[in-house]
């Protein structure tokens, strides 16, 4: 295990550190994205409608500032048993760090890890619900529309690949931890916008997004080029082989 870790760290250092450099121009800009996976959700879960957008920009070398936002509406009508509605907005702020080195000046592919702080503001109600209780007696009641807030911390890892000039596709895997629990002491939300299932203290999610990079400016950067590491110690001048050569007679 220790050897594998040592090997991985060495490989990372070689790819990131041992390289030559050359000055060139690189395009920077604001990358806007839409999460395509949210558009597919209603086909699997007809009671949910979600939308998610993102914007990111390189603020320092390989460090990206990220803003994400969107909304969710959930409407479940389960006949005489219950009717539930919720709708609201969410926002996330955070950073991504690119782990890739750029082999070509115009290649903006990213393999990144990141951190987000998320917050959702939404309303929910159960306009009617029925609880079956054969001993104490069934309950028919309702919970009026009320406001709920939720905050969470999110770890992200993903890829963004430039498929066409300035157009990117990408996916990300996300692990979320709810910071305020219970979110609602009266009624556990079915879905927290931007987070996932309201009953879960931790949540995993996958996003598939399409991005467009709005080119804003070009900047001279040092382009890394991979080169082989030079072994330490002085190089010795190669000694010509004397094998098969006749020794010159000395006078």
């Amino acid at each position: 295990m220790g050897k594998i870790l040592k090997f991985t760290i060495s490989l990372l250092l070689i790819t990131m550190g041992a390289r030559g450099q050359q000055d060139s121009l690189r395009t920077y800009g604001l990358r806007l994205g839409v999460d395509l996976s949210r558009l597919v959700i209603p086909y699997f879960q007809p009671n949910r409608k979600d939308m998610e957008f993102s914007a990111d920009m390189e603020i320092r070398n390989n460090l990206f500032g990220v803003l994400e936002g969107g909304w969710n509406t959930s409407q479940i009508n389960n006949g005489p048993t219950f009717q539930y509605q919720s709708s609201g907005y969410f926002g996330r702020i955070g950073i991504d760090y690119n782990l890739l080195t750029h082999d070509y000046i115009q290649e903006n592919n990213l393999a990144y890890v990141g951190l987000r702080l998320g917050h959702a503001q939404f309303h929910q109600q159960a306009s009617h619900y029925q609880l079956i209780d054969p001993y104490w007696g069934n309950i028919n009641s309702s919970i009026p529309l009320h406001s709920v807030q939720a905050s969470w911390l999110e770890f992200v890892a993903g890829l963004k690949v430039e498929a066409l000039k300035h157009f990117f596709i990408g996916w990300s895997i996300r692990a979320r931890i709810l910071l305020n629990n219970p979110v609602d002491p009266i009624l556990t939300p079915y879905v927290i916008p931007g987070y996932g299932k309201g009953a879960a203290k931790g949540e995993f999610d996958v996003n598939y997004s399409l991005y467009y990079l709005i080119p804003l400016f070009k900047h001279k950067i040092e382009v890394p080029r991979i080169s082989l590491p030079i072994p330490s110690g002085k190089l010795k001048k190669p000694v010509p082989s004397t094998k098969g050569k006749k020794k010159r007679p000395t006078k």
Binding site: Q45, Y84, D133, Y135, W136, V161, L187, G198, A199
Partner: protein, 160 residues
Amino acid sequence: MYLSFKGYIFLFLGLLWGCFLSCNDDVKLCEDSTVVNLNMGFHQIKNGLDKDSILPSLTIIGIGKTDSLYSQKPNTQNVILPLNQGRDSSSFFIQPDSNLVGDTLSVFYSRQLHLVSPACAFVTFFNLDTAIATHHQIDSVFIQYKTVTTTNGENIKIYY
């Protein structure tokens, strides 16, 4: 030029994501537990150690109800009890043996409505606050796990 190997990666992950979504499809079938009951165990302290207490003929009736939850059930160490979902307290008459005077146990709690899934609908989760009892037979009452959900251990320990 841009996509080749990467294209396959995306296709693979797309299928993975589709699988992930379909696995989370909880709209049509209720596959989760919707049973929420208070779990209660009977104990005694012997030589400073916590031992199980087996009640010879247990009867439990909800206060205000005529039907019994347990009627002279022999050799019982633990029971599950439904809490009243319409109130913030439930009381039970507990008689460990038919020839002994019974006790009244009152449990106070807060309630949270929980939407399990579209198919399973709502259940009520409880957060236990206090439990008090008369002391004809019962020595003491101890709340071990405050939350009463679909998965919980022994919420209340009753010592005789």
